[in-house]
């Protein structure tokens, strides 16, 4: 009786389960990780976990970010992640991404997060212990006050990616020495203060237990899986040296910070090789990184606990923008060195400028290549990108129209907005050369730069239309600030820094005002059209 009742109950449960998809599924039913993942995550990470659009978005399959300790995954889901990250894909072991993962902690419940993470952490080749509601709750408590997304480097500091697999160096032993050296001492003549077994097989100064005036030597065996030439990159603060099979491979000499990396190459046969690293720290900051590259090593293998910064040569895609023959190229993006409303103009003869529609003036001049769209035209396009060419001259960094009561008065620009200072656009003339139009108070200004390639000159004709009521008193035009300004031998000519000179002529020319890295033109404007010619010449 008891048994048959049990069976009956079980059959009933099975029947109800079978019917559930037909009925309204209440939220009390256990969350299904796969369904939730498809609904909320797969648009970017793809149903197969390989990253949407052929890996244009980060994969989760075999991602070291997702595998390993669960706190990192939970934190990314709760608070989101931004900044550049490296994730190995099928095609590229060092694929860089610079996207944004929006925070999901406010949108997903704890049971949903548990279900999703247990699904993705155990799919597509990922294998991890299941996480629990308590794990998510603990993480929520730990970072409950957080209101911003994780920056990638910030997250990695807190939750570093675990190294997987066997220790890179076997039988590694470290010795600690005390002393104050400015060059690498002969450690063979010194007595170690302590000796440690480094079970992780990584070069680490953790066991020095001392921030200043110490040295360390590590010795162990380096497994090599293929015959071939290997490259080692060593960086340290202060000095260090790498020996393999007793021979010096590379050395970072003397005192100095990280970023002085030195590389060396050595031919190694398959098997174990003796490795010895020597290091000393004088005072200040300290650190050491060592990376190995060679046959069968997809991404640089770190032999140190601190992650080496290795340039893999795989930079952001370059998308050159060049002017057409006998034409002009335009770029309106965020040009470094000018303002957000900068308009880049590239002339076909290798001369370029950036006009700021915020400041109403030409802020940058440069030569050769015009611009690279690679930053703004890949991913979300964060950040400013400088001009692509050479000899960049930054003429001004302020609104260039102002009234000055006295020659020593502070630069007080005419205000923006309303009718006070207003950009009105541009017209293209022959060869698409632009004329910029703007209003300064009641003045209407047109501003036409024309390149002269043979003489390396850009001549700028500024036409100011003044109403019969006249121009504002004490109006001045800023030609340059931030560069050393000197009067040149020729009249109305000034040297700007050491690469450029400028000649100013026209209707209102009174001698320009030269003061503390500023070149300022006082304007005595008459009703009607006034013309000023500004001739920029590269030396």
């Amino acid at each position: 009786m008891f048994i048959s009742n049990q069976r009956y109950l079980r059959q009933l449960v099975l029947l109800i389960t079978a019917l559930l998809p037909l009925a309204f599924v209440s939220s009390s039913v256990a969350e299904d990780g796969k369904t939730l993942y498809i609904t909320y995550c797969s648009a970017c990470h793809a149903p197969d976990g390989k990253g949407a659009n052929d890996g244009a978005f980060p994969p989760l399959a075999n991602s070291p970010w997702l595998n390993g300790k669960h706190d990192r995954s939970i934190q990314i889901v709760l608070h989101g992640l931004q900044g550049e990250i490296t994730v190995p894909t099928d095609k590229d072991p060092n694929k860089k991404y610079n996207l944004v993962m929006p925070p999901q902690g406010g949108a997903l419940t704890d049971p949903q997060i548990v279900a999703i993470l247990n699904y993705v952490r155990n799919s597509w080749g990922n294998k991890n212990k299941p996480i629990t509601l308590n794990d998510v709750a603990k993480n929520r408590r730990a970072t409950g006050a957080r209101t911003t997304m994780w920056q990638a480097d910030e997250l990695l500091k807190k939750h570093p990616i675990e190294s997987s697999g066997p220790p890179p160096i076997t039988g590694l032993i470290s010795k600690v020495y005390h002393g104050s050296w400015k060059t690498r001492p002969d450690f063979s003549k010194l007595e170690p203060k302590a000796t440690h077994e480094e079970h992780k097989g990584l070069i680490s100064i953790a066991n020095a237990n001392k921030p200043e005036n110490f040295g360390m030597v590590w010795e162990g065996e380096l497994p090599v899986s293929k015959d071939g030439t290997y490259s080692f990159t060593l960086d340290s603060d202060d000095g260090s040296a790498l020996y393999i099979d007793g021979k010096l491979v590379t050395e970072v000499k003397g005192l100095g910070g990280m970023g002085r990396a030195k590389s060396g190459k050595v031919k190694l046969s398959k098997g174990l090789h003796d490795i010895r690293v020597e290091y000393f720290e004088y005072t200040g900051q300290e650190g050491i990184t060592l990376a190995m590259q060679g046959p069968g090593i997809k991404s640089p293998l770190s032999l140190s606990a601190a992650k080496p910064k290795i340039k893999t040569g795989r930079k952001r895609a370059s998308i050159p923008i060049d002017p057409p023959k006998n034409g002009t190229a335009f770029y309106r993006g965020f040009i470094d060195g000018s303002t957000p409303r900068a308009i880049g103009v590239g002339y076909d003869g290798g001369m370029n400028l950036a006009f700021s529609a915020d400041h109403l003036g030409i802020e940058l001049l440069w030569q050769e290549r015009f611009y690279d769209g690679g930053r703004h035209w890949t991913g979300r396009g964060q950040g400013n990108e400088p001009p692509a060419g050479k000899n960049i001259t930054k003429l001004t960094s302020l609104p260039v129209w102002a009234t000055l009561e006295t020659s020593s008065a502070k630069w007080q620009p005419i205000n923006k907005g309303g009718t006070k200072r207003r950009f009105r656009g541009y017209q293209l003339g022959k060869n698409d050369r632009p004329t910029f139009n703007y209003e300064v108070g009641s003045l209407k200004v047109s501003d036409l730069p024309i390149p002269e390639f043979d003489s390396k000159v850009i001549t700028r004709t500024v036409t100011i239309d003044v109403p019969s009521s006249g121009a504002p008193e004490n109006l001045h035009l800023l030609i340059c600030n931030g560069l050393d300004v000197k009067a040149a031998d020729s009249p109305n000519t000034y040297l700007l820094g050491n690469a450029m000179q400028v000649e100013i002529t026209g209707d209102s020319t009174t001698p320009a005002l030269v003061r503390n890295k500023e070149l300022i033109l006082p304007l005595a404007l008459k009703p009607g059209k006034n013309q000023i010619t500004i001739r920029y010449q590269w030396k």
Binding site: L15, A18, L19, L22, A23, F24, S26, S27, T39, Y40, A43, C44, A46, A52, N53, D54, A56, F57, G80, L99, P102, P103, Q104, G105, G106, A107, L108, T109, Q112, T147, A329, F330, Y331, R332, G333, F334, P340, R341, I343, G344, A357, G373, H376, W377, T378, G379, R380, G381, Q382, G383, N384, G417, R422, F423, R424, G425, Q427, L428, G429, D432
Partner: protein, 480 residues
């Protein structure tokens, strides 16, 4: 129980499954070879020309996009070097663009096919170099104004003037701050009555993405941009600042200027990133959905249909899925007078189900009417559904429908789970005399909740299931 299961198993194969191809023909329009055409805006021009702009800043003119044979389309680059335009329309010989920094009027004055005049109409809002400070612009309204919605800095902050606001730009170039409360828009346009709507994306203070009504002077829900109220005189500052971790229904009581989302587009279920807003003005050339709003969906590469009505002075209504299968994430849409829907899109930076990096497509109605819920109107005690064709009377019974309801936490955190679940009960379903509408009496309607109506049992008189059986009605107000 067993007989119900059996009958379901046997009936299903007998019902002809409706597919999109029966009703709408979606075609990719060939793009110029070698060009990266991440389309951000579309304008319809005279002589059956179509202008598009790309996120890289190129302006192209397409000829032949209306022809049967799309292999002959001709593309001409009219300019390169704009600043990420996300809004464009044609007016009196010019193209009016909303670019990231400004509204501009572009003209080919010498008629050589290239733009040579770039007139800045208005550049009075702030940008600081942050990529997320997008500006989406509408076509001209009846007064000639362009409505511009300004995304928050990084989609979280108001670090540049007027971020988080909708502004109107007059033909003279004056900027009129119009609504605060914007987060991260994806598109803006008008309904058939000429009122302005935009889509805003899930995130802080947006539990889900939604379609919102830009009633001038209103507050749209995200308080970040409220710092700019003192910078203008026309609109009085909010009565109260919203409470965190609340509900919209509750905050509307405290903040009369708060206009709730007209139609919530439930996150995950309906979409993840709504974009373009247009309406069907073609009086039947695009199928049976005259005057209804169409919303683009970037992540799901879809077009959704929205029915709205005004109850107690507030817009509300239902979203029903419509078109799918687009090849990239949809950003702009335009519907021509002859019923050709143009759709453009890009996947850069934001992934979509359509796996191509960018696309340009058109959709035309085949002339065959799908069996669909045409309208879903709120009633004091339920809903009234009207259908595109007569309904089989035997399928009009409460068991043919089911309803679930929920809302979202109104909070500063990013998004919200679905909360406060309710299970309204369908007490009766009554077919109208003309056989084309059904009156549902529902017990347990909840003011402010999304009401998810599923109608799996409904059949047309000719035996068809609904093309789309799910409708999501946002019940901001229950009519008296």
């Amino acid at each position: 129980m067993r007989s119900l299961l059996l009958s379901l198993v046997f009936i299903s194969p007998l019902l002809a499954a409706s597919t999109q191809e029966d009703f709408y023909l979606r075609e990719e329009i060939p793009l110029p070879k070698g060009e990266v055409m991440e389309i951000g805006s579309i304008a319809l021009m005279p002589d059956k020309k179509v202008a598009v702009t790309t996120r890289r800043g190129d302006l192209w003119i397409c000829e032949g996009a209306y022809e049967e044979d799309l292999s002959k389309v001709k593309w001409t680059a009219a300019h390169r070097g704009l600043h990420e335009p996300l809004g464009m329309f044609y007016q009196d010989g010019s193209l009016v663009l909303t670019q990231r920094p400004e509204v501009s009027k572009l003209t080919d004055t010498d008629k050589d096919g290239k733009i040579d005049s770039f007139e800045t109409v208005c550049a009075d809002w702030g940008i600081n170099g942050d990529y997320h400070e997008y500006a989406f612009g509408s076509p001209a309204d009846k007064d000639g104004n362009v409505w511009v919605v300004l995304c928050l800095t990084g989609s979280f902050n108001a670090k540049s003037p007027w971020r988080g606001w909708c502004v109107r730009v007059t033909p003279e170039g004056e900027m009129i701050p119009t609504c605060s409360g914007i987060r991260s828009p994806g598109g803006i346009g008008f309904n058939a009555a000429g009122e302005t709507f935009y889509t805003d994306n899930q995130g802080p203070w947006n539990g889900s993405s939604s379609l919102k009504w830009l009633k001038p002077g209103s507050f749209q829900g995200n308080p970040t941009g409220n710092v700019f109220y003192p910078e203008q005189q026309a609109i009085e500052a909010l009565e109260n600042q919203p409470n965190d971790k609340s509900r919209i229904v509750a905050e509307r009581e405290r903040i009369p200027k708060f206009i709730p989302p007209a139609v919530v587009l439930p996150h995950g279920k309906v979409g993840q990133s709504p974009t373009a807003v247009i309406h069907d003005h073609t009086a039947g050339k695009f199928g049976p959905f005259s005057n209804q709003v169409l919303v683009g969906e970037q992540t799901h590469s879809e077009v959704q249909r929205v029915f709205t009505e005004k109850v107690n002075g507030i817009y509300q209504g239902a979203v029903i899925k419509c078109l799918s299968g687009f090849r990239a994430g949809i950003i702009p849409m335009r519907l021509s007078d002859d019923g050709t829907l143009f759709v453009g899109g890009s996947n850069r930076g934001w992934a979509s189900r359509g796996g191509k990096p960018f696309t340009f497509e058109r959709v035309r109605w085949t002339g065959k009417t799908p069996f669909e819920i045409l309208e879903m109107c709120a009633k004091p005690d339920g809903f009234e559904l009207s259908f595109t064709e007569a309904v089989d009377p035997s399928s009009v019974k409460p068991e043919s429908f089911s309803m679930a309801a929920w809302t979202y936490i109104y909070q500063s955190k990013y998004g919200s789970p679905e909360v406060d679940q309710a299970s309204p009960v369908i007490k009766s379903a009554t077919l109208s005399g003309d056989g084309k509408s059904v009156r549902l009496v529902v017990e347990g309607l909840v003011k402010g909740h999304v009401h998810h109506l599923s109608s799996p049992g409904v059949r047309s008189a000719s035996g068809n299931k609904l093309w789309h059986q799910d409708a999501y009605y946002t019940l901001n107000e229950i009519p008296d």
